[in-house]
């Protein structure tokens, strides 16, 4: 069976990527081992667990939180999360009055060192289009309903500044240590499309 037949069931985009990849490798422009290392990095090493550690530290250490809000890149670097797509970080603090939510209407800009690579919905046209015009409707679809009196502040990442939301520390989380707090922090709560878990939603956290 020819190669073409074997791949016939793959979607067009996958086929095109495969064709492009084999061509680049053949011409010696891409090292397949480097590709594997890149994929391995974002599959296993860099992801939202990094961000949840930043948030948990901010919840338990007021001085760190001040540094984080003043100069996010430097404060996040204290935890070792630096590099590509996190060069210029800004942290947005949620409160009863203001709920922050991040989008990139132009493409898919996202703070890689703290959140990893963006989820598919974040890159999708419907999220990008609707987050700015109907943030409350989008939040509702994510299961989040905020009081009418809470201002929703959407941040469109049109430049190279990358935004991370600092969600409110859940009630009933007093006395929890940093490690347990980190378990409450979800990826979506750091994008602003979700809220952190309450301790009762994480059975082992108490």
């Amino acid at each position: 069976m020819s190669d073409r037949h074997e791949h016939a069931h793959l979607p067009d985009t996958v086929l095109r990527v495969k064709a492009l990849e084999s061509l680049l490798v053949e011409k010696g422009l891409v090292d397949p081992a480097a590709l594997d290392t890149l994929i391995e990095t974002y599959e296993h090493k860099v992801g939202p667990r990094n961000g949840s550690r930043v948030v948990a530290r901010a919840w338990s250490d007021p001085d760190f939180k001040q540094r984080l809000l003043r100069n996010a890149s430097a404060a996040i670097a204290e935890l070792g999360f630096t590099g590509r797509q996190g060069e210029d970080m800004v942290v947005l603090e949620n409160s009863e009055k203001v709920h922050n939510m991040v989008v990139c209407t132009l493409c898919s800009c996202y703070p890689w060192p703290v959140l990893g690579l963006p989820p598919v919905w974040y890159k999708s046209a419907p999220y990008r289009a609707r987050a700015v015009i109907d943030p409350r409707g989008v939040l509702k679809e994510f299961g989040v309903e905020l009081p009418e009196t809470t201002e929703i502040r959407v941040w469109d990442s049109t430049a190279e500044v990358r935004y991370l939301v600092l969600p409110m520390r859940p009630r009933d989380s007093e006395g929890m240590d940093e490690e347990a707090l980190a378990e409450l922090v979800t990826r979506d709560s750091m994008i602003g499309t979700g809220l952190p878990l309450s301790p009762s939603q994480v059975p082992s956290s108490k």
Partner: protein
């Protein structure tokens, strides 16, 4: 042509690709200033979203000096400019049906803005 080797991936990711420029360029605006975005329709790359052209907003933060993507994409000219976070009310962008209190903050360069 430089090819990225597996052994360099970690180093390259860590180094990043900073767009911040270490040049002093006088800032045209400061936090609190009222601005209006230019209404333009360039053929090439721009980071001023269409939904925010010709709209009034308030400068909230000054991020510093960054490469200007419009010229950088067109001909490699970094054309460093000040970058701000500009706050628009939902009503200014979307009209009456929008929430009275919601806002959209957009990162915008000097060349996209005029004093309101």
């Amino acid at each position: 042509m430089r090819v990225l080797r597996a052994s360099d991936v970690g180093k390259v990711l860590l180094k990043g690709g900073p767009a911040r420029v270490d040049t002093q360029v006088p800032a045209k605006f400061k936090p609190g200033d009222e601005v209006v975005t230019r209404n333009m329709s360039p053929e090439g790359h721009t980071r001023l979203p269409r939904y925010a052209r010709g709209r009034r907003g308030v400068v909230k933060r000054h991020h510093g000096v960054f490469i200007f993507p419009d010229t950088h994409a067109a001909n490699g000219d970094k054309n460093p400019q000040n970058l701000y976070s500009v706050c628009f009310t939902a009503r200014e962008l979307w009209g009456e049906p929008a929430s009275e209190i919601d806002k959209v903050n957009i990162d915008l360069w000097d060349d996209y803005l005029d004093r309101a």
